[in-house]
């Protein structure tokens, strides 16, 4: 009990550590990274590819094919360079994750290098059929319970349509279940919110807050949203999370941050933990006495705290990336069609061919 009254001391030192090869290998072992994703396996793969490309180049040269089709040489060198760049990027990310893991372990928190099937209730998680979370730090310390990490959606044949931009997140527990509320950032879209909450209420709250956020709530829950988002809470949300999007769903609060958020940087981690601590404290204070007066007998019989209308905003949000990709494909198809029809005339008009 006494420990709960002590302020939480967070050791940021590990995030400033320089990681050597030995540290990376130790991290891979401790984090249980599968063999196929380990540093030396990736390095071996890249070296083998480079050797194969070199052998192919020599063979192409000796047989005279390279002289006839020099583009093959460009391909061979290009693949080798691409693989090398990919490996360097992989090694950098591995170093960052190992630093994050050391930070988590030193502070007595849990760490997972990669998680799948976490089934978080947040709309950004629920809308993808398959996703992977990397570098997940979890604390069950009662003074600051949180989970944070980065989410990457995985698109295979049947789940390709649900692919969205990667995002970083902080998950905080709430003392009770609340209606579904999303704070859509007007200046910076992080999670797919296009079309989310159709038929629901879109609240433009007063002053500075309205410039940053649009509040999406299920129809009929406007008063409940105002009960939670008091002016002083709104002010702190702007101070700490102006670049974020926020979601309250069931008994969870999610702070969504851009996918490029570097939790391995001491300043970023410090700011994130300050945000997490203050949001957790303030949102807990605003929600602990919350009760859904519209829940009704049905919810009571089902043993559920929030009525069906307040459970979820309608729709799952459309990814801007998906819209852009579809538009790109359509434009490309139109361009190819137009070129095949009128390309010859155009080239002649430009004096080519």
């Amino acid at each position: 009990m006494e420990a709960l009254n002590q302020p939480l001391q967070v050791e940021l030192g590990p995030l400033r550590e320089r990681m050597g090869i030995g540290d990376l290998l130790r991290y891979e072992r401790l984090a249980g990274i599968p063999l196929r994703r380990r540093f030396f396996v990736a390095l071996t793969g890249v070296l083998l590819l480079a050797v194969a490309m070199l052998v192919a180049l020599v063979w192409l040269d000796r047989t005279g094919i390279l002289a006839q089709a020099p583009v093959l040489g460009v391909f061979a060198v290009g693949y080798a360079v691409l693989a090398a760049v990919g490996f360097v990027w992989y090694a950098i990310d591995l170093t960052r994750r190992s630093r994050l893991a050391l930070f988590a372990w030193v502070n007595g928190w849990q760490y997972a290098d990669s998680l799948e099937g976490t089934r978080r209730p947040g709309s950004a998680f629920a809308r993808t059929l398959r996703s992977r979370e990397l570098g997940v730090v979890a604390s069950d310390d009662e003074r600051l319970p949180f989970e944070l990490g980065r989410n990457f959606s995985i698109g295979t044949r049947d789940s390709g349509a649900t692919v969205q931009r990667p995002f970083a997140f902080v998950e905080l527990p709430l003392p009770v279940k609340v209606p579904h509320i999303v704070l859509k950032n007007r200046r910076r879209s992080i999670i797919p919110t296009l079309g989310l909450g159709r038929g629901g209420a879109r609240m433009e709250l007063e002053g500075e807050f309205a410039k940053h956020f649009l509040l999406l709530v299920p129809e009929g829950y406007q008063q409940d949203a105002l009960y939670i988002f008091t002016p002083d809470l709104m002010a702190r949300v702007i101070d700490l999370g102006a670049g974020a999007e926020i979601e309250l769903v069931e008994d969870r609060l999610y702070v969504y941050l851009p996918g490029g958020t570097r939790f391995d940087r001491p300043a970023t981690m410090e700011a994130t933990l300050r945000l997490a601590e203050e949001f957790q404290r303030r949102f807990a204070a605003r929600t602990e006495l919350y009760r859904d007066d519209q829940a009704g007998d049905l919810a009571a019989r089902a043993g559920v705290a929030i009525g069906l209308r307040g459970q979820r905003l309608a729709g799952s949000g459309v990814s801007l990336m998906a819209v852009a990709a579809t538009a790109g494909v359509l434009l490309l198809s139109a361009g190819v069609t137009a070129f095949s029809l009128f390309g010859a005339d155009l080239l002649r008009a430009w004096g080519v061919g």
Binding site: G199, R301, G303, R312, A314, G315
Partner: protein, 290 residues
């Protein structure tokens, strides 16, 4: 000239005539027919209980709640609370999958499954609505009646349609595969809790195998799961249907595609075995009411 050279490939009759004259064609047909006859004649496997533990008393009745999950791993005879079928590899898998690294982890998991029960509130309310509607109408509500009731209660129309279609698809598949004699037309899913409760019972036995508790403690845990879980169900079939629907819905997140049931609802065969007296199915002989 080779005999096959006389076949006119533009004439189907000619091809068939040639095939009929080949001994190896008849051999292939014979093997295929023999395979299907043998499969058809073979009796379905019986459910084999452990001879060391009772199959008829209250303790057997209580552990039978975990039959589907115990069969799913499989972790040994359904009535054996020591889960003797779990070897070293399975122990490691269980520890990884369930995060069972200590006795406390084991107890926490059972507590979570018994109380929180993998519930998703929108689904819980929608199923409650169906049960209420069934009580009012005196029959299973039709698709439109149920969907309309969800929308009138404030649910989103599109989500309601998806959810109703998913549950009815699972029910239809289980009824078709297990048989209408086992899953009658008036049996329907009222809750998805069966999955978590079945898992909780199995987990209690797995904890004994992992060395986190003894048989007496596992029996106590199983008794508590039964006391808290059973009242929501009317029969073994009601519970089994809930288990299968809960499993499919949980792992698919309610996104039911063409192959979802084939992948996640495959334990309809366990339900069939459990409810068949000729196969020593425990649910066929044990009373639902404790």
């Amino acid at each position: 000239m080779h005999p096959s050279a006389r076949v006119n490939l533009n004439d189907l009759g000619s091809i068939l005539e040639w095939l009929i004259g080949q001994w190896w064609v008849w051999a292939i047909v014979g093997v295929v027919v023999l395979f299907f006859v043998v499969v058809w004649l073979l009796p379905d496997a019986k459910v084999v209980p452990s001879a060391d533990f009772s199959t008829t008393d209250t303790e057997a009745n209580e552990i039978a709640l975990g039959y589907m999950q115990i069969s799913n791993l499989p972790s040994g005879p359904w009535n054996d609370p020591t889960a003797p079928g779990i070897g070293d590899r399975e122990k490691k898998q269980l520890a990884d999958q369930w995060g069972l690294h200590s006795r406390q982890d084991w107890l926490d998991n059972i507590e979570r499954l018994t109380t929180v029960r993998r519930r998703r509130d929108p689904w819980v309310i929608s199923l409650q609505l169906r049960a209420d509607l069934a009580a009012q109408l005196g029959r299973v509500p039709k698709t439109k009646e149920w969907t309309t009731a969800i929308v009138e209660a404030g649910g989103n129309k599109r989500d309601a349609r998806t959810f109703v279609a998913a549950i009815e698809h699972i029910e239809g598949q289980v009824r078709k595969l297990a048989g209408k004699d086992i899953v009658p037309a008036d049996a329907f899913v009222k809750t998805l809790d069966g999955y978590a409760l079945g898992q909780a019972v199995a987990l209690a036995t797995w904890g004994v195998a992992l060395g986190y508790g003894d048989v007496a403690e596992a029996r106590q845990l199983i008794h508590r799961i039964n006391v808290e879980g059973r009242p929501a169900f009317d029969s073994w079939v009601d519970f089994g249907l809930s288990y299968i629907a809960g499993r499919v819905m949980h792992w698919s997140d309610g996104n039911i595609g063409d192959k979802t049931f084939d992948k996640l609802g495959d334990n309809w065969s366990d339900l069939k075995a459990a409810c068949t007296e000729k196969r020593n199915g425990p649910w066929a002989t044990l009373s639902w009411k404790l």
